[in-house]
């Protein structure tokens, strides 16, 4: 949907179908259908990592590309995790291969060994230029092996997290 900066109308200005369609129809459609992408986890195997440096969780399925109008983008993720060492799992989002939070990421949470815990975040990303941008979910561990349950059949952890992005302004 194409967004056009709303015009300032002049007195006695002729309102044509073309102008109305651009200013009203197209702009309302752009608001109704903003650039958006989402992925629900439903995979044949759970995700795991032992990396102590941030890496993509899945550079295909959890890499979402949208073409924006230069506005802010909201990113949201929720999923169930476990860590074999009971230590911290760190999460971040990379926009065009640059992590938005830096350092230890958006969040760092210890997750027990014999249990699973939901980790979730919502992030507003500002300052993006108009055009295509790719958002990748990334993670690392402090120690241990992190597991992200992806609906692959682990008993009592057959859950389906979600990763989504949407331009919101």
């Amino acid at each position: 949907m194409t967004w056009t900066t709303p015009k300032t109308w002049d007195a006695d200005e002729l309102v044509t179908a073309t102008v109305m369609n651009t200013q009203i129809r197209d702009n309302l459609n752009a608001l109704k259908f903003p650039p958006s992408a989402a992925h629900v986890l439903d995979e044949s195997s759970e995700y795991t990592t032992t990396s102590t440096t941030f890496v993509d969780v899945d550079s295909t399925a959890l890499a979402l590309t949208i073409t924006t109008h230069g506005g802010d983008v909201m990113v949201q993720f929720h999923g169930n995790f476990r860590n074999s060492a009971g230590d911290k799992i760190c999460l971040d989002v990379a926009v065009d291969d640059v992590r938005v939070a830096g350092e230890d990421g958006i969040m760092a949470q210890a997750v027990g060994t014999g249990m699973s815990a939901t980790l979730t975040f919502t992030r507003l990303i500002t300052g993006l230029s108009a055009g295509a941008h790719t958002f990748k979910l990334q993670w690392r561990v402090v120690t241990g092996t992190a597991t992200l349950f992806a609906g692959a059949g682990t008993v009592n952890n057959q859950v389906h997290g979600q990763f989504w992005v949407r331009e919101v302004s």
Binding site: S44, E46, T49, T50, S51, V55, D58, R140, T145, L148
Partner: protein, 112 residues
């Protein structure tokens, strides 16, 4: 130094064991291993020599996910022991009592 990843097709993985084996073989250049959707990704420093990169493929191919790490085996043994002790007190042997005391002592030491 940059980090690169080598990708292999591999469905079943014991990530803890594979991590241990790769760390032992590659040393400080090894960062970690990730898995999912039928792929194994090995994360290493780009300074890793080509010969070592070739070894990674062989190690991943030879990986047996049924082989446990020492920690995994210890946890499996602990779970089996606890299961064995689920019986009336009157049936406990001297060895059973020693075993539960050992488990409790290990837990106390771990917590402190």
């Amino acid at each position: 130094m940059a980090i690169i990843e080598l990708v292999f097709d591999r469905a079943a993985v014991n990530p803890d064991r594979l991590h241990e084996d790769l760390a032992a073989a590659l040393g400080a250049a090894f960062i970690g291993v990730s898995a999912g959707r039928g792929k194994v990704r090995v994360h290493v420093l780009d300074s890793l020599p080509a010969a070592d990169r070739d070894r990674i493929g062989l190690l991943v191919a030879a990986h047996d996910p049924s082989q446990l790490t020492a920690a995994q085996q210890a946890e499996a043994d602990r779970a089996a022991l606890l299961e064995r002790l689920r019986k009336p007190w009157a049936e406990w042997t001297a060895k059973d009592k020693d075993d539960v005391l050992r488990l409790m002592a290990e837990r106390l030491l771990d917590d402190h």
